[in-house]
Subunit: 280 residues, 2 copies
């Protein structure tokens, strides 16, 4: 059982009338915690603020969230902080209450330690049948309507086999590859004047990951050409390098996508190191 | 505060680790209650079973649900029973737990009494900007991912004006009209050999309402030609009659869609009467 603060109080239960439960009417952030502190706080708060603005949910005071997060994370060496923010409780019906009071739920769990070979040799990835539906109003933000991810992840069971897929790629209804179920995706392709780092455009679906953003930033700072663009599966199969990322995993090279194998390449290595050396 | 049973116990709070709260990983049904009994029980259970099958959630024992519903509804003259079913609590991550235990939440509220003129004169309806995304895996069932409806309903505030829209129509990304935010939609058009009753196809998005199903059934029983088909706004504007339906409202004639006015027509009247005289 994780340690949980609901609206600042130690608790584990929430009203069934909370619109997070009734409609998925809210947002979340998943943060890495080390040395007693949530990492990349400002970036996560910026995305949360964007999500709140998009859904017109009153953003909790960031200093309040920070003080609650710090008190929850105190002494945690290696953890995961999940912050859920909802529109709060309401009467029956979809109409947002005029006087909504935002609910905030902070929960701290132990971090999962991923096998070292995921980083050294890469991981195996499959392609999911479940599609991500186009919804520009919800694209990019980390909202609580996650049935597509649940259905996609339910397409296979983890049997503990070493060659088994650890992540699935999701496509939209136009056969564009968008992201992993719990991660963002990058590929490296040869361009006219050197390798180009590409990642799917997330204007119609998908979640704009904080680590995705940081990878784009460190790549551009290193003079690498970066493109947010539409990508098909055939583009991925033609790539030199392929990798996944999220806040908790950092960068996982992809060594196998369905039947095709990939080498762990130099740009993946370079960006992994650059990401690790980022402050905060 | 409604009366609530969570897994058979009188309670108002649910674990924040419930996947209904974390991901919207569940389903719901809204039933009309009269004379101490939930109405159209078998139909609601059939749809819930379809949803559970689609999401691979273990369906609660219907006899257990019924006995809980009957105990909650005892003595209720005119109420609303909402049943929420979720995949239960789980560890972090989208993967459904191998040993998931379904959560069931039953809550009973007083019914809203709708103004008599809604039935007599019809209602005013607007067209929403928020679109319904295509997702065949989730189409038809009444799942808990309802942000699209929340965003659509947030497009206008209820100011208590008599001519104000009481419902909004939602389109998909291909400009097909799908449904109301909280209702299904029918229109009547002149065919070659008499009037035809049409309602949107719900294979890619939308919720297959119980009342929609009953209207199709009573219409066919009365020899009326019924088509589930694609409908554009222009088709609606050209219609002779237009009406909305759901379990709680029954049938509301549409007297105005955006700037266009409609008469309350004979087929709407006929179907309203046929629906009311349905047993159960």
């Amino acid at each position: 059982m994780p340690a949980i603060l609901i609206n600042g109080q130690s608790a584990e239960h929430i009203s069934v009338l909370d619109r997070g439960f009734q409609y998925g009417d809210g947002l979340f952030e998943t943060l890495r915690v080390s040395a007693g502190k949530p990492r990349r706080w400002a970036q996560h708060m910026a995305r949360l603020a964007t999500g709140c603005q998009r859904l017109r949910i009153a953003m909790p005071e960031p200093t309040l969230l920070l003080s609650e997060a710090m008190s929850l994370c105190a002494g945690e060496v290696n953890g995961v902080l999940k912050i859920i923010v909802t529109r709060g409780t309401g009467e029956r019906g979809y109409a947002p209450p005029a006087q909504a009071v935002t609910t905030r739920v902070l929960s701290l769990s132990s971090a999962v330690i991923f096998p070292a070979e995921y980083y050294r040799d890469g991981v195996s990835v499959r392609v999911c049948d479940t599609r991500l539906a186009d919804n520009p109003a919800l694209a990019g933000i980390k909202h609580l309507n996650r049935l597509e991810q649940v259905l996609a992840r339910a397409e296979w069971q983890d049997k503990g086999e070493s060659m088994q897929a650890v992540e699935g790629l999701m496509l939209d209804n136009n056969n564009n590859v968008i992201e992993g179920i719990m991660s963002n995706l990058f590929c490296v392709q040869e361009g006219g004047s050197g390798p180009v780092l590409k990642t799917p455009l997330l204007t119609h679906c998908g979640v704009k990951g904080i680590t995705r953003e940081n990878i784009i930033n460190v790549a551009e700072a290193a003079g690498i050409s970066v493109q947010e663009t539409t990508l098909r599966l055939t583009d991925l199969y033609r790539s030199e390098e392929l990798f996944l990322c999220n806040t908790l995993m950092g960068i996982w090279p992809v060594r196998q996508l369905e039947e095709q194998h990939f080498a762990v390449g130099p740009m993946t290595r370079q960006l992994s190191q650059a990401l690790e050396s980022l402050h905060d």
